[in-house]
């Protein structure tokens, strides 16, 4: 189950750095990540971005090395207006992202279920669209009930 305290609906942000900073702060408040986490995610995003094209719907999955993480968790933002991220496979390409999943993964080898459930999420564009238009967190909880952290 995802932590609904880590969900922000209709976030207003101007840059991808804002999005990561705001979501990362939520994780930091819960002590899920270390003080170094936000800067590490931003540095990684600059060099190796995480924007993904899910059939003309754009999401981003910023994350970083597990040594900045205390406990695996996921923070989610739906964006009021799309924010520009760069594309994972082609960092020169800019995309207008509408949904951001900030990932903190402690040990990928131990988290097969989490990674598989995340993958399943990206395969389901309808679900992503519903998530994007969710009006309250209880909707998000229902939509993401299959995410196992």
């Amino acid at each position: 189950m995802i932590d609904l305290d880590l969900v922000l609906l209709d976030m207003q942000a101007r840059t991808w750095r804002d999005v990561i900073g705001k979501l990362g702060k939520l994780m930091l408040d819960k002590n899920d990540v270390k003080d170094s986490y936000i800067d590490a995610v931003i540095a990684r995003e600059e060099e190796l971005p995480t924007g993904l094209n899910i059939g003309n719907f754009y999401v981003a999955i910023p994350h970083t090395d597990s040594n900045h993480v205390n406990k695996s968790s996921i923070a989610i933002a739906t964006l009021k207006s799309p924010v520009e991220f760069s594309e994972m496979i082609n960092p020169a390409g800019k995309i207008n992202v509408e949904l951001v999943f900030l990932l903190a993964v402690k040990d990928p080898k131990q988290q097969v279920t989490l990674l598989k459930s995340l993958m399943a999420l990206f395969q389901n564009k309808q679900l992503l669209l519903k998530l994007k238009s969710a009006k309250d967190k209880s909707e998000v909880a229902i939509l993401l009930k299959d995410i196992v952290i």
């Binding site: 990684r44 060099e47 190796l48 971005p49 995480t50 993904l52 094209n53 899910i54 059939g55 999955i61 994350h63 970083t64 090395d65 597990s66 994972m88 496979i89 082609n90 960092p91 990932l103 993964v105 990928p108 080898k109 097969v112 990674l115 598989k116 995340l118 993958m119 990206f122 395969q123 564009k125």
Partner: protein, 102 residues
Amino acid sequence: MKKRFKVLSVCGSGTVTSSMVALKLKDALDEKGISIAATEAKPTEALNLISGGGFDFIINTSPLIAGDYGVPIINAVGFLTGFGEEEFIENIMAVINEINNK
């Protein structure tokens, strides 16, 4: 016929995305009676690991650093997003068949 393949899975952090696509590929190939052993790596680690030898092919979701990898490289972003999944598996099977026909 070879049925076990060593795969280098490359993503930006060398952990999260590369593990996801490796897990998914493992499942997809299991159905075809093919097994893979995947090693996850960052782009900066890939060339070094490959030169250690033994890898059959590379799958990647972040760009690789330019260099001579000496094995087929298959873009796995479509596999990650599900948009381009069949094409990715076709590419993988073409590489596997080529290895087996050598």
